[in-house]
């Protein structure tokens, strides 16, 4: 279930991006991760790709796919739900 994945995705973001002083509850589920919101960039994107593959076995093949997947925590959880084996 996507709702069950959401806190795990938030924790993965915090851990993989080494965001200090932020708890999972402080990340908005539907807020944009790039640009506004958390202000992530393409360097962060590849770090999240690796973390998603490591933790959930899900591959994000390129930045074009990534721009959809990393739109928000909810879209990440949805992609994981859809693609994990």
């Amino acid at each position: 279930m996507i709702e069950d994945l959401i806190p795990k995705v938030k924790q993965m973001i915090i851990d993989s991006l080494r965001i200090e002083g932020m708890s999972p509850d402080e990340i908005e589920t539907d807020a944009p991760l790039f640009g506004e919101g958390l202000g992530l960039d393409s360097i962060d994107a590849l770090q999240l790709v690796v973390a998603m593959e490591k933790e959930f076995g899900v591959v994000v093949p390129d930045a074009a796919t990534g721009s959809t997947v990393f739109a928000s925590v909810r879209s990440m959880a949805g992609y994981i739900e859809e693609h994990r084996k």
């Binding site: 080494r18 393409s42 360097i43 994107a45 590849l46 690796v50």
Partner: protein, 278 residues
């Protein structure tokens, strides 16, 4: 052991701490020294190229941040630099003063910018490919890897059409992302060698003191001295930045904390990636 890291030129104009009276002092020094005021980035010194103004903005923010940290009593045991971050890094080391750092940023920036009057150049950011794959692509297209930032983050430099072709090839080879930026000159490539005489003459006009804080350079990870600084300032523009090697060198020599002193957090993010692989 604490290391201050001085990043290179920002790729876009960033917000400045315009309300900070100390930054205003640095901005005024920049205006007096170079004609460019970073508090008026879109209107000041419009004759300067965007790259030169970005370089000056980067130097101003780094100089301000270093002064701020010093005032707060947060010192550095070691200094490191990436690309054009060398000028504020030299100032932080005590080798030159802030005005000289800004003058060097400006004069060297303007000199390399003249290359852009003859040809169009670009930088190409490639994320996701290995160095071996990218070296082949760069060679296929007659361009160069200018920055080795991590095992998967590289910057290409060369003539604009060739960089664009290389980026298409990189994407077809499985790069995660690509992006290109116009620039005045192919910094950190052998193409700069055609103007080394002019650069040497500029650098020779300045006096460099022995750094009081050790400053580790990004080519061979040596500690710069008053005698080696002039040569490095020219050589570094003709050779790639090896950031991953520099970071690993610093870590293996006892640095436990890295503080990025300038615009953005790209170096900290590169370090995070390198750590994740070790």
């Amino acid at each position: 052991m604490i290391c201050w890291m001085f990043p290179g030129q920002p790729i876009a104009f960033a917000d400045t701490p315009s309300d900070d009276p100390e930054f205003k002092k640095t901005a005024l020094l920049c205006q007096k020294t170079t004609g460019f005021n970073p508090l008026e980035i879109h209107t000041s010194a419009s004759a300067l190229s965007q790259s030169v103004r970005l370089q000056l903005l980067g130097s101003c923010v780094s100089l301000h941040r270093a002064n701020q940290l010093t005032r707060q009593g947060s010192g550095a045991d070691l200094l490191a630099e990436h690309s054009m971050g060398i000028y504020p890094a030299l100032s932080a080391s005590g080798s030159i003063d802030n005005a000289t750092a800004l003058a060097l940023t400006w004069r060297i920036g303007v000199s390399v910018a003249e290359m852009g009057l003859q040809r169009e150049y670009a930088l190409g950011c490639v994320i996701g490919l290995t160095c071996e794959v990218l070296e082949t692509i760069a060679a296929n297209n007659g361009i160069y890897i200018a920055n080795h930032n991590t095992s998967r983050h590289f910057l290409l430099a060369g003539e604009r059409e060739k960089v664009d072709a290389a980026l298409v090839e990189a994407m077809a080879s499985g790069a995660f992302s690509i992006s290109s930026f116009p620039c005045d000159a192919p910094l950190h490539t052998p193409l700069i060698e055609e103007i080394t005489g002019k650069l040497q003459r500029i650098v020779a006009e300045y006096n460099f003191l022995e750094p009081r804080i050790p400053l580790v350079e990004h080519i061979a990870q040596t500690t710069l001295t008053a005698a080696t600084i002039p040569r490095f300032l020219v050589e570094e523009l003709c050779r790639p930045v090896y950031w991953e090697t520099t970071y690993c060198f610093l870590r293996s020599h006892g640095v436990t904390r890295f503080q990025e002193v300038g615009v953005g957090s790209a170096l900290s993010k590169f370090n995070r990636w390198i750590d994740s692989e070790s």
